[in-house]
């Protein structure tokens, strides 16, 4: 009898552990909140020609239901409808780094690798210990072009005329250039000597 009670207790503990793990992941996957960036029409379907359900005002909170391409289905008050992804400002995950740490410590505690199918995960610790594989690089250099595909891409992808984005020059960036330029002038004589010596 006491053995049965022990077994039941052990089972109960294991079940509690599974529930705890499940709760942990469900909190990570909780409903995403967002706010409207501007006045926007809530539509009945994910297409620009769809009928308007309601007009949402700026900064109106919505809950995201699902996504279809660039369109997002949201709950907004009593209405459910579709709007463009770009119409939303997102509620930031305030514990973004913390959630990463939790994932990492959980995996370390379990003694598992990132991938469990025989393919190693490329994470910081793997990369830090990696040594160059020059044979693999030679293989990389030998990847050919698919000539037929190249022609197909040129035929099916219609180029668009779009202006480049010109970022505002930041004072910090200018300082970087200036510092490098100074270093170069200082370093040039020594480096030039090295080049002449060895080649």
């Amino acid at each position: 009898m006491s053995k049965l009670i022990y077994t039941l207790k052990k089972f109960a503990r294991a079940k509690l552990f599974v529930v705890a793990i499940s709760l942990s992941f469900s909190s990570l996957a909780s409903t995403q909140e967002a706010f409207t960036r501007k006045e926007v029409k809530l539509l009945t379907a994910p297409e620009i020609s769809a009928r308007m359900i309601a007009q949402l005002s700026t900064d109106e909170p919505v809950n995201i239901v699902t996504r279809k391409g660039f369109w997002i289905e949201v709950n907004a008050g009593q209405h459910t409808g579709w709007l463009k992804l770009s119409a939303l400002r997102f509620q930031k995950n305030t514990n973004y780094r913390g959630s990463l740490a939790r994932l990492e410590s959980g995996r370390k505690g379990a003694g598992n690798n990132v991938a469990s199918t025989g393919v190693r995960g490329l994470e910081a610790n793997v990369l830090a210990l990696a040594t160059p594989d020059y044979d693999a690089f030679s293989k990389f250099e030998k990847i050919n072009l698919d000539v037929e595909l190249r022609i197909e891409l040129q035929n099916i992808k219609t180029p668009k005329s779009v202006a480049d984005f010109e970022p505002k020059a930041s004072p910090k960036k200018k300082a970087v250039s200036s510092k490098y330029a100074t270093k170069t002038r200082v370093l040039t004589p020594n480096i030039s000597m090295d080049i002449e010596d060895e080649f």
Partner: protein, 250 residues
């Protein structure tokens, strides 16, 4: 010794093209990435990604348009993509599997191309104490060529381990969007991909290196929305997928 020449070019920040010295350093870095995760054993997929990348490069400014670029896929389920000096771009099998459309894949490659074109790695070099040590060794002539390559590998590993500056990521998102749109892809595929990445993270799926080295995907969406012009709205349509994409992602 050509590496020393590389410094003359990169430190001056006057390099506007991919040159042989930069490629030599890039090769060293990529060889290290490949030491961590080899190329996938799928010639068709490698050729497809390389050809898609070459298509995008045709819409970069000169002299990058005529430079030699290489694109590949590495065999890991982690999601990530890497750009190395010299025009070498790698994406992981995990990220390849995550995309829903060819337009999203094009955005990833365009984002990485933009890192190379904008020479974002140079800003990281400047901040690294390791790089100062390498320079000090150079000045004192106390290092051999092999040691130099090894030191450089350590420096460039930091690109992958620590990531680039946040502003560099935001800029590459925007430039990548513009580049992919120019090349005929959905102008908002970047939005879609970033939302997928957000969902990927929110569901507890692991790829710590990527999320540690990049701003939150939703923050990236916000940054992109703040800067993108409405002129791109009219190109927010998925392009016709190539036969190769349909074959590889049925």
């Amino acid at each position: 010794m050509l590496v020393y020449g590389f410094f003359l070019v990169t430190l001056s920040l006057n390099a506007n093209a991919i040159n042989e010295q930069e490629r030599k350093v890039g090769r060293e870095i990529v060889a290290t990435y490949l030491g961590a995760a080899p190329l996938i054993d799928d010639t068709k997929k490698l050729q497809y990604v390389n050809t898609l990348g070459q298509h995008l490069v045709q819409f970069t400014p000169q002299p990058y348009r005529n430079a030699v670029w290489l694109f590949g896929v590495i065999n890991t389920k982690s999601i990530n993509a890497f750009a190395a000096p010299g025009g070498y771009i790698l994406i992981t099998q995990g990220l390849f599997d995550l995309v829903e459309t060819e337009d999203q894949l094009a955005f990833i490659l365009a984002h990485e191309i933009s890192h190379v074109v904008k020479q974002h790695h140079l800003a990281v070099i400047q901040k690294q104490s390791k790089m100062k040590q390498v320079i000090a060794k150079m000045q004192n002539n106390v290092t051999k060529n092999n040691d130099m390559f090894s030191d450089l590998s350590d420096v460039y590993k930091d690109f992958a381990i620590k990531g680039l500056d946040k502003t560099a990521e935001y800029e590459a998102d925007l430039d990548g969007t513009v580049l992919a749109t120019k090349a005929g892809f959905n102008s908002y595929a970047g939005y879609e991909l970033l939302y997928i990445l957000s969902d990927f993270h929110a569901n507890g799926k692991s790829s710590e290196l990527f999320f540690k080295t990049h701003p939150h995907p939703l923050t990236r969406i916000d940054e992109l929305t703040n800067k993108i012009t409405e002129a791109l709205d009219k190109y927010a349509i998925n392009s016709k997928p190539s036969s190769a994409f349909k074959r590889l992602r049925p």
